[in-house]
Symmetry: C2
Subunit: 310 residues, 2 copies
């Protein structure tokens, strides 16, 4: 409880220790979230995602520094791929953001993509709740966004910034297409290099072609490593937030996320139930055996298991 | 039934129509799989995956042509990202493989990454079953493998080929690390370009560092667009299959996949149950409302829902 009170007062070390609980101890994590849930919902949560090599870390770094000029408290959750060979998050990012980490108004945490009970999306969501309760004005979730799981993580944000970069080739274009629809704001980074204008034009064309959009996302060209146009990006992020508020969409969006979270929690428990139900008496193994021998089919056995559980 | 019999006789058009059922009609799909399940389990299923730009389609193309020289029947499921703007799979791949598609011993199908009832992994799995039952000797599942969902799809294979390529930058390296452990065989494509040897060396080093491997995956350098070293890749694929058979691991691996499939089918139905249970009476909405207003917390409501279902 003392740890929680410290966290609620904005203590960074308390935040760090509570996030470790969220990562490693499912039971304690539940207790914790139950206690602090009422303190959440105040921060503006921003997702920053895009293909590998788009310079998301540098962009996040500069953006946080800009927010700090107005003395905002900022939390950053950097979701990194984890190597099965090292078992930890990539060291690079942590080092890169070292000067930020020393700032008492900034909290930075790297999270890997495996090994969390209940999955990374859940762990990230709960880490965000802790930072939210601790009084962060802004929380940035940075992910290497290329697959569905990364998209799922970033969906929990109020504002999603999709970072693109010139010259990643045709194949990247097609991946972009798949995650394009989650962007509230498009940023072309490295806009000093050849092809940047063309990339921006392509994104604009894609966005113009899209029919069913209530709001047409803007495209901003920045050069993060030169700290160029970060203010413009910030203005567009603010505009988007204001747009959500003015149209009752912030509430709508957050409710959608709340609903999804609740259903996922129920599903997670049901999954455990299925496994317990079938593994106890070795039934799952014998079912697998008869499927392997083609004596039955998976849908028939599914129905057997379902009638058992209900 | 006539369609099924035609498919079992190896008719390509029947296969195509049955895969469309698997994609679009959940109920009919179940009936179909129940009927044909006993005819599955004969094909060698090969997953080919890797980052965007690695030349997977070209490699698949050349590999299929090599297999055709021995008159093997080959099925290819190419899992493509789908653009929300076009709603279809990328046209490029279909065109590229056009000459293959005319070969009566080859069946090719593109599948997008969204819009399938029960998810893409399920649709892919069932499409593979159809091709398996239709008498394909080899079935290749080709995916742009960067996220968790793509990894999940490729896990259903007996042999997973991870395609790498030189010069994709540091950030790609870290993604590679995350999916590295699923590779039974590593292929460095475009090995005629600068840096290929270095990429191969890096992969070899990573593999050597890894401790808990029963079998150390080989690394093969190929140049798919010049049809170079594809035979060597094929030999390694055969060696891996033989290794699985000799050590009883093929059965073990397939049983693991069967078990996973069965559990996923049960989970899918339980999910539907939760949604039905809560949406009917508007309860989910009122729960969401009280969560949004911080009157309670998600874990408490989860337990309420769980006690209802059980």
């Amino acid at each position: 409880m003392e740890l929680i009170n410290k966290m609620l007062d904005g203590d960074k070390r308390a935040c760090a220790r509570l996030i470790s609980i969220v990562e490693n101890d499912e039971k304690e994590s539940e207790k914790l979230i139950k206690t602090i849930y009422k303190h959440t919902g105040k921060a503006h949560i921003i997702g920053i995602t895009g293909p590998p090599g788009a310079g998301k870390s540098t962009l996040t770094d500069k953006y946080v520094k800009l927010l700090r000029k107005s003395d905002y408290k900022v939390g950053v959750i950097a979701v990194d791929p984890t190597s099965p060979y090292t078992g930890g998050a990539i060291l690079g990012d942590r080092i890169r953001m070292n000067d930020l980490a020393l700032d008492p108004g900034v909290f930075i945490r790297s999270m890997g993509t495996r090994g969390y009970l209940g999955g990374l999306a859940k762990a990230t969501r709960n880490a965000v709740k802790i930072l939210d309760a601790s009084g962060c004005d802004y929380i940035i979730i940075e992910t290497v966004g290329v697959g569905q799981s990364e998209v799922d993580i970033v969906k929990a944000a109020d504002t999603v910034v999709l970072v693109m970069v010139p010259g990643l080739g045709d194949d990247i274009q097609s991946i972009k297409a798949g995650i394009m629809e989650i962007g509230d704001l498009f940023v072309v980074n490295k806009s000093d290099i050849f092809g940047a204008q063309r990339t921006a034009t392509e994104i604009n064309m894609m966005l113009d072609m899209s029919q069913d959009m209530d709001r047409r996302p803007p495209v901003v060209m920045v050069t993060a490593n030169q700290n160029k146009n970060i203010e413009q990006m910030e203005q567009e992020i603010q505009k988007h937030y204001q747009y959500l508020v003015d149209n009752g969409l912030l509430e709508e969006r957050r409710k959608k996320n709340i609903k999804r979270e609740l259903l996922e929690l129920v599903e997670e428990e049901l999954k455990k139930l299925v496994i317990r139900e079938t593994e106890n008496n070795g039934e799952l193994d014998s079912m697998t055996e008869s499927l392997f021998n083609k004596e039955t089919d998976p849908f028939t056995l599914r129905d057997v298991l379902l009638s058992r559980i209900k």
